[in-house]
Amino acid sequence: MSLIKIALAGEGGQGVQAIAEIMAEAAYNQNMQTIYIPNFGLEQRGGVSIAFLQFSDRRIGAPKFNKADVVIALSERAIGRTAGYSDENTIFMYDNSYPVPEAEFPEKAKKIVGLPAIETANNKLHPRVFNIIIMGAAIGLTKVVSFEAAKEALVHKLAYKFEKDPELRELNFKALQIGKEMAEASLQEGVGVRG
């Protein structure tokens, strides 16, 4: 596998860094070269939080990059902040549960894909698994890690929560599955595809 670069961005508290960490962990467990670096600002909460992920079967150079293969932006502000990471080879995914002004979208993208993650989480699952839907979508878009490896890393990360509330386990797996399927479908069928 050649180098795959992902930028994940959302509001502080949306769980962007958590899913980036789980994906990086899953890739490492599959013996891949992986770099995960959080872009942290002065703000402890609030503000846009970006995670930079790189996956490869070879040694990875610089920890950051200018253009991503996949950008996933989870809020209007996050779309604005990450538009610059998109070029003609980038799949730019955003949450279309809410309206986004045209001007916020990147000028260049291979595809702009809208996924109703917040809506799906709220109506079909539970608001707290919103970020896991996104993680499923990221895996569906990039195939950087296998679905099983992602599940394993998810269990590893959330073991203590699953112990307290066993229903969470199935809820998270379901969210992961739905996210993956939504992303795959949107790529194939062009659902929610713009530009």
């Binding site: 490492y28 995960y36 990875i60």
Partner: protein
């Protein structure tokens, strides 16, 4: 020595966590520190792990105090260290100076952040001048600039040995990217790799009568006479110059036939390495030179590399506005190779940036 890691194993962790494991494996007994981003997790992990191995931690009231407590602990024969960044590194220059004056085996990990002042909490290479030549002394320091988590682990272990062997303050110079990012590495016990750790020893309060059984331990950071100070500084300078060949470390790739030599250090050298490979694929003869020790600087090695290659140009790339560039110019004074620069203070540099620059100047 007490086992910490056991059998060597693969790990996937942040650079700060790597520092902690390396310090444990190196036999560090105590850390003194004060919180500052992006090194906080060194303290965080140390306070979690240290008690399990009978090691200690003290959070002092500020960085000046953290540096001085390290100075005190090492005199008592304890393997001690601290970690800091940015303004914390500025405040610690006073205790670092004491460590130079008294030849104390102080070890400090610096995770560079943006500057000047509080700058950013993120990343830069703007603490090169401060770490190599800060303080009111002559820069008698050992500074290792790391590029990967494996190197952070390796050089923290090596740093403790250099400090206790040569008794010059020793620095592991990382940055916010290295501190915060996760990447794979192998952690190990030094003994397992045949690395013998220098046993710490008290510098003061030794047994026996002064004059009869032993020499006086004259650890001093202030002198009454200017001639006294002169003698000590000259002796330290001579000692430092004598050990340069034992300390100097560098990396060099593809320089023999290079038309352009790209010089970088730390995390930027990862991008330079990739850039050289990609440029070569495109038929551009680029070479890679990286000082691992910024103090002492691999001066002769860089001069030899320039001479051997016959390169037409050199490019210095760094995430600062010319701190490495200044260091290089002072070290290779007299060389006539034209030097171009890619200076990006406080932001990351990727292979594309370097390639674009190279193509614009060749």
């Amino acid at each position: 020595m007490q086992s910490t890691i056991g059998e060597s194993k693969k790990a996937f962790m942040t650079g700060n966590e790597t520092v902690t494991w390396a310090a444990l494996a190196a036999g560090a007994e105590v850390m003194f520190g004060y919180p500052i981003t992006p090194q906080n997790e060194v303290m965080h992990y140390w306070t979690r792990l240290a008690p399990k191995f009978g090691r200690e931690f003290l959070q002092t009231e500020d960085e000046i105090s953290a540096g001085f407590t390290v100075c005190g602990a090492v005199q008592a024969g304890k393997k001690a260290f601290t970690a800091t960044a940015g303004p914390g590194n500025v405040l610690m220059q006073e205790p670092f100076g004491m460590a130079e004056a008294m030849r104390l085996p102080l070890v400090a990990v610096i995770q560079q952040r943006g500057g000047p002042s509080s700058g950013t909490v993120v990343y830069s290479q703007q603490e090169v001048t401060l770490t190599t030549y800060g303080g009111n002394g002559e820069g008698n320091r050992i500074v290792y600039s790391t590029a990967t988590h494996q190197e952070i682990f390796d050089y923290v272990i090596k740093g403790f040995n250099s400090a206790w062997k040569y008794r010059f303050p020793t620095f592991i110079l990382g940055d916010g990217y290295q501190a915060k990012m996760r990447e794979p590495l192998t952690i190990y016990e030094p003994q397992e790799r045949g690395i013998e750790m220098v046993t710490p020893y008290p510098l003061i309060g030794k047994a026996g009568h002064i004059g009869a059984d032993r020499e006086v331990q004259h650890l001093c950071n202030i002198y009454s006479l200017e001639e006294e100070l002169y003698d000590v500084v000259m002796q330290h300078a001579a000692e430092y110059e004598r050990i340069i060949p034992e300390l100097v470390e560098y990396e060099q790739k593809e320089c023999d036939d290079a038309e352009i030599i790209i010089v970088s250090h730390g995390v930027v050298s990862r991008a330079a390495d990739d850039a050289v490979k990609l440029l070569r694929d495109q038929g551009i003869k680029a070479g890679y030179f990286r000082p691992i020790t910024l103090r002492p600087f691999p001066e002769q090695q860089l001069r030899d590399t320039i001479a051997k290659s016959g390169a037409k140009k050199m490019l210095v790339a760094e995430s600062a506005y010319g701190q490495l560039f200044r260091l290089i110019r002072q070290e290779i004074y007299g060389e006539t190779i034209p030097i171009e620069t890619l200076l990006m203070p406080g932001v990351g540099i990727i292979d594309y940036d370097i390639m674009t620059k190279v193509k614009s100047i060749l």
